[in-house]
Structure formats: structure tokens, C-alpha cells
Symmetry: C2
Subunit: 134 residues, 2 copies
Amino acid sequence: MLKVNRIHHVAVVVDDMEESLSFWRDALGLQMTELRDSPAEQVQIAFLPVAGSEIELVRPTSADSGLAKYLAKRGPGMHHICLETDDIEAMMMQLKAKGVRLINDTPRTGVDGRKYAFIHPESTGGVLVELYQL
Amino acid sequence: MLKVNRIHHVAVVVDDMEESLSFWRDALGLQMTELRDSPAEQVQIAFLPVAGSEIELVRPTSADSGLAKYLAKRGPGMHHICLETDDIEAMMMQLKAKGVRLINDTPRTGVDGRKYAFIHPESTGGVLVELYQL
């Protein structure tokens, strides 16, 4: 059976990055290693590693994206959990064989080369789960 | 400055434990180390460790608890993220000094001796954050 290696990150959707950082970085003491603008994905992301995982604060930078609509509808808060695996294609096959509904039928590739895909919350008990292969 | 050691767990509130386990354990391949009934907290909890963290599936076992009301109102999904620290009292002092609103003014102690406290989502950008000192 294929394995999940670790919780790669927990993504939090935020509407005000500075206000969010005043909690996660300044009050809680997490270190922010990068604040990245990603125009292709219409988001700004703050990366705050914690041991082998990461808190990612994600702010939509346009009003049209799916994430902006999610934020407008549901408010800020936890958005998804990302699990890292060594073989994303095989994991997706395994999930499909178990009747799990995937949002992406094949993995997508990020600008940094990582492969990723989302699992539909309908199959997970309401949690948006992302898979990563680095 | 005080430190967060790790993401101790991500808690997912579920309405059907067997259906949730069919995804997290049977399809995704996580190992369930314990399925615990906790009458004092009116919940059943499945523990699924992933590297140094854990997914915890939490099912309300009565209709009256706060968690049962949360589930009835918001549906199943991610409930909170728990961060481990070495000195919860000092961390709570630090948070208060930064104007962060806490749900628990002093740490509570679990049956297993761990200390815990919740931070109000109002101060975190919509995320219910729990602190642990083991």
C-alpha cells in the first residue's frame, strides 16, 4: 500500500495578510521564510514552516478567482490540508480504485516542478485534501 | 521568543466514523493507532499519525455538545489545528501581551496530563487554534 509521508502544509485563506501575520508570525512566533506573489494563481502566499510541516497563509489578489469566491462566501479560515506522497500517480489510481472522487483526474505540475492534485471534499468528509509529490 | 515545536494534529469533525475511515485509513493508507471513546468529552476519536503530526477524526457522541452543534450548523470538515509548545503558560502570556483573544484564560488539563487551551478564531483569521503542552 502506498504511503503518505507527511502533512506538507495546512493552507489558511486570509483577507488581510498583515493582520494574519500579526498573529501567526508576531504573536505565535512562527518564522516566515517567504512572502510570495503568484500572479499566475492570483494569490499571495506566506510560508511559515513548523517542524516538517508548514502553515501557508493564502490571500487572493483578484476578486475573480475560485479562492476569492470561497473567501467571500465562507470567510477566512482553514482551506485545505496537503499530504505528501512519493508517487502521486499511483496514489491517485489507488484512490480511484477505492471510489474516491478526485477534482483533478491527472496531476498538475507547478512552476517549481512539484506535482499536485486535489481530492474532492465529498469523498473525505468535508475536507479539501491536496496531494503533493515533490 | 517562545516557540511552536510542531503541528501536533489537525482535527476533523465527522458525522460518520466508518465512512470517514474508509477514506483516511482504507483509501489513503494512513494507519489508525487508536479509536477512543471519550464519554467525558462526548466524542469518539480516531488517531491517524502522519510523520510527527496526526490527523484526528472526531465524532460527537451526543447531540448536546458544542461540537455536535458545530457539526449540525457547519457540516463535517476541518475543525481546528493544534500546535505543541514547551511552555503553554508562557505562550499564553505572550499571546495575551500581543492582544490575542484566548478562549481559555488558563490551561486545562486532560485525563492524560497534557495541558491545553484554545485561541479564539477572531484573533487568528478564522482558524480555531489549540495549544498543547505534553
